[in-house]
């Protein structure tokens, strides 16, 4: 059994202690916005915030999570997709297939929470999630927009 604080709600789940937090979030709590991509903390599709820090939930055994740990998933990032990162994502039209985007958005939100004006190098260092569709250019533009920058001319010439 594990007690979890997810998106501000305390939840109790019956699972083995070695179950990855990702699968508890998805299957026990029904929050499927957090994705399975690799299971080995490589791709970042499973990214969540734990106590404000970016974490890859596929590699966190639920038994190591305390009830006092505040977990935020994409569903809890904001009401009505109102987080500046989500708004910038919409403005730039970032997603293609969309599968990795929950993780990308959670990573970008964590970056901006600790660095209000990230440089390109900061973005390179922080944004290590894999996107197979290749939305990186628009992810970068959206982060800059969310950071208060201007919309970068994008798209076709």
């Amino acid at each position: 059994m594990a007690r979890l604080n997810v998106n501000g709600k305390l939840r109790t789940v019956e699972v083995e202690a070695d179950t990855p937090l990702l699968w508890v979030i998805r299957e026990q709590l029904g929050l499927t916005g957090t994705k399975y991509g690799c299971g080995v903390a490589q791709c970042g599709a499973c990214s969540v915030h734990m106590n404000g820090e970016l974490r890859r939930s596929c590699s966190i055994p639920v038994g190591t999570v305390k009830a006092s740990d505040r977990i935020t998933t994409i569903e809890g990032l904001s009401r009505n997709a109102s987080h500046p990162v989500q708004k910038a994502w919409a403005e730039i039209d970032v997603p293609q297939c969309g599968y990795c985007q929950s993780g990308q958005i959670m990573a970008a939100a964590a970056l901006l929470a600790r660095n209000k004006r990230p440089t390109d190098a900061d973005i390179d260092a922080a944004m290590t999630n894999i996107c197979r569709c290749g939305t990186y250019q628009r992810v970068r533009a959206a982060i800059k927009l969310a950071a208060g920058g201007v919309k970068v001319a994008g798209g076709a010439l």
């Binding site: 499927t32 994409i74 969309g98 010439l157």
Partner: protein, 742 residues
């Protein structure tokens, strides 16, 4: 594709892959009962809170357009949306002719069962080969135009005026003389009762008059991708659902001998261990993690079927033989290339190689199936809904009209979820053993890497001769490697005459034509098939062939002492569209102008999927050998540009796909199985490696070309040619990470 009840899965795959998109003939279904399977399926599908199939309320004016009383227009989309933007582009084309309000457009996907019941009213569903828009633009536009004509006719009757006196804009029909107006929503019911005009009688708008199509509009499907609310197939939950983890024999072609399920006796939640066909074992449990953990602990004995001794070394030797053999399929033989090369002032020879590659879609293979004695349903991330349908029918033994597929937008496709519906077959075979219970099969990433249909491995030997003026007198190309058609349909290419593997060297225009005119030219292919399954892969053969042709062209140009751009230009006078994109990319990139110290340029052009592509790369190499791509400039002529914003997104995406392949991608074989298992040993390019991409979309508006794939084939060669410029040494074998460029 054409298909008939009772055909085998393999046969279906052949038809879908070889016949291709809109060239298809109508579906023939002898004796099929035209029940409406979706009606039964809709209830269970809607229980998910999702929406599957053509179910929106309103008046169906044509099969493509449902108008609702509040003026919303629901546009039906038959092709798959897997990130490439086809949904938005097709909706733009229909909306353009419909003259509706773009702000009130919604979309829905008819199911394969609905398509079957309505005699394939929406045509081809398969989505691959960059065909989604170019092969359906004509009939979807006519479907939109027909609906507009019917809505106007209904309004004319209602107002008692001649139709010619009406004008429509954004779904509002106006009669100027009387000042009266009607909204689409007010006449949709009456319009739906009218006869649909003959599509051939309709004159479509000229692209120059487009107001919705051709514009850089935002995608229609973005919002649910921002807050986690979008349901991928992997996210489906059904009451009473069970979860399956699967392991197929790691050696391709091998089989299951036995497994010891008593080893799992103490594991919580495990329902059963089941055999899946001859080759795989699945553990079914009450959660996927429990199923996966149990599977990892399950002892399985495999029969490697004699393939356990195969390796990359044996496969390389097989392909090397294909380079050396005198017996090959001679596809083009113009003039006398061997003689021209033998008699040349200067001769250039090179052998190139590219490896197997996995698709590695972000959403791993998965499907949910529910099977009873007389009905089967499956929720599938598919590029080929009708292929999924056929696979479900075959695996369950039920007729097609007792089966239904709910298409889920795939989390990436890239060719993996098209012709071969192995994961649907598996889900069906598992669910069949749990009658009435929905079972969600999810592949682990490791299973996904181990059982792909890989991009074909190949090697290429190229020879060229330069005359005394430094002109290309002769070119000979010998390709050796695996054939996709031979895997899908061995009989179709039994004699080794497989032109598909020579994509990009085609003689005839329109698809993947070689853009050079060489006086003496010989193109040959020696088919060499290993036991590794192969299949389409975003851009597939144009990618490998683009590297071979364009990197070798760089070697030849440099041997001639010529500028690589100008050397190419001299061979392209007969190919103005190829030349136009090459020039556009070169000029935009400032070819020939000074660069910062240590930065070098490379250029490439190649053609595939009906579109013309060129790229210029700017690259530097650090003292540690690290390659940095500073800039990539593309020019693309895809004929008509339905949404330049989304086209640019596809070009940017093609860079990530193409650079991942160029720098990292390699699947190797040991002991008959794939070595790579996850992203730690099959790396994918990340943000820090993504160069700024500039995309010139330059439609010539006289043909319809593809968008999702064409530009990948110039990404690798442009970068590799810039590396050549930097080091003075060609790169002839991929991936780059095998090289030490320090």
């Amino acid at each position: 594709m054409s298909a008939a009840v009772g055909i085998s899965r393999r046969r279906f795959i052949i038809d879908s892959a070889v016949a291709g998109g809109g060239l298809a003939v109508g579906l023939s279904l002898p004796g099929a009962v035209m029940a409406v399977p979706a009606a039964a399926g809709a209830s269970s599908a809607s229980a998910l809170g999702g929406s599957f199939g053509a179910t929106a309320p309103g008046a169906e004016v044509t099969v493509w357009v449902v108008v609702q009383p509040d003026d919303h227009c629901v546009i039906r989309i038959a092709r798959t949306e897997m990130g490439q933007g086809t949904l938005t582009g097709l909706a733009q084309l229909v909306a353009e002719e419909l003259e509706c309000d773009w702000a009130k457009v919604k979309t829905e996907f008819p199911t394969p069962g609905q398509s079957l019941a309505r005699k394939r009213a929406w045509g081809e569903m398969g989505t691959g080969g960059s065909r989604g828009i170019r092969m359906s633009e004509d009939y979807v536009r006519r479907g939109g135009a027909a609906a507009r004509i019917m809505l106007l006719q209904a309004a004319a009757t209602r107002l008692g005026v001649p139709g010619a006196e009406l004008a429509v804009e954004r779904g509002v029909i106006r009669h100027a003389a009387s000042g009266r107006s009607l909204r689409y929503g007010e006449v949709c019911e009456a319009a739906a009762r009218l006869d649909v005009p003959d599509p051939r009688s309709i004159t479509l708008k000229k692209p120059a008059d487009w107001k919705i199509a051709g514009k850089p509009l935002k995608r229609l499907d973005t919002a649910p991708k921002l807050d986690g609310s979008k349901k991928f197939a992997l996210d489906l939950e059904l009451p009473g659902m069970l979860y399956a983890a699967i392991k197929d024999c790691p050696v391709f072609g091998g089989k299951v001998v036995s497994f010891d399920e008593t080893a799992l006796a103490s594991r919580k939640g495990v329902k059963r261990v089941v055999r899946v066909g001859d080759t795989a074992v699945a553990v079914v449990a009450d959660s996927w993690w429990r199923a996966r953990s149990a599977l990892a602990a399950l002892p399985i004995v495999w029969d490697e079927a004699g393939f356990g001794n195969r390796s990359s070394a044996t496969i390389d030797a097989l392909l090397k033989d294909g380079l050396d053999t005198p017996n090959a399929f001679v596809y083009r033989n113009e003039g006398d290339a061997p003689a021209a090369i033998a008699g040349a002032v200067k001769r250039i020879d090179a052998d190139y190689a590219t490896p197997f590659l996995a698709h590695a879609t972000m959403e791993p293979m998965n499907a949910t199936a529910r099977v009873t004695a007389d009905r089967a349903e499956a929720w599938v991330p598919t590029q080929n809904g009708e292929g999924s349908h056929a696979s479900l029918a075959e695996a369950t033994g039920l007729p097609l009209d007792r089966c239904e597929i709910y298409k889920c937008d795939p989390g990436g496709g890239f060719g993996r979820r098209g012709g071969n519906q192995d994961y649907v077959r598996q889900a069906a075979l598992i669910a069949k053993q749990f009658p009435g219970v929905p079972v969600k099969l999810i592949w682990s990433r490791e299973e996904d890497m181990a059982h792909d249909f890989y991009r074909p491995i190949s090697q290429c030997r190229l020879s060229a001769g330069l005359d005394e003026k430094g002109q290309l007198a002769g070119l000979q190309v010998r390709l050796s490697g695996q054939s996709i058609n031979a895997f899908i349909n061995p009989g179709s290419v039994a004699d080794g005459r497989d032109e598909r593997q020579l994509q990009g060297w085609f003689e005839k225009p329109g698809d993947a034509q070689l853009g050079y005119t060489v006086p003496n030219l010989r193109i040959e292919y020696a088919m060499r098939n290993s036991h590794v399954p192969v299949g389409p892969w975003r851009g597939v053969n144009t990618n490998q062939n683009g590297v071979y042709m364009e990197c070798f062209m760089e070697e030849v140009a440099r041997a001639a002492g010529a500028d690589p751009w100008q050397f190419r230009r001299r061979l392209m006078a007969n190919h103005p569209k190829h030349l136009a994109v090459l020039d556009a990319a070169a000029e935009r990139a400032g070819w020939g102008k000074p660069l910062p110290a240590g930065v070098h340029r490379g250029i490439a052009q190649f053609m595939g999927y009906g579109s013309y592509s060129a790229a210029v790369a700017e690259v530097s190499i650090g003292t540690d050998g690290h390659v940095k791509v500073h800039r990539l400039v593309f020019a693309l002529n895809c004929g008509h540009a339905v949404n330049p914003h989304q086209i640019a997104a596809q070009v940017e995406g093609s860079v990530a796909y193409g650079l991942s392949a160029t720098f990292y991608g390699e699947c190797t074989v040991e002991n008959g199985r794939m070595v790579q298992s996850n992203f730690h040993d099959y790396p994918i390019m990340r943000m820090a490696e993504m160069p700024p991409v500039e995309t010139i979309v330059m439609p010539s508006n006289d043909f319809w070309g593809g968008v999702g794939e064409p530009t990948i084939c110039v990404v690798g060669p442009a970068v590799l040619n810039a590396i050549f410029a930097a080091t003075g040494r060609p790169v002839r074998s991929l991936p780059l990470r095998k090289y030490n460029l320090a």
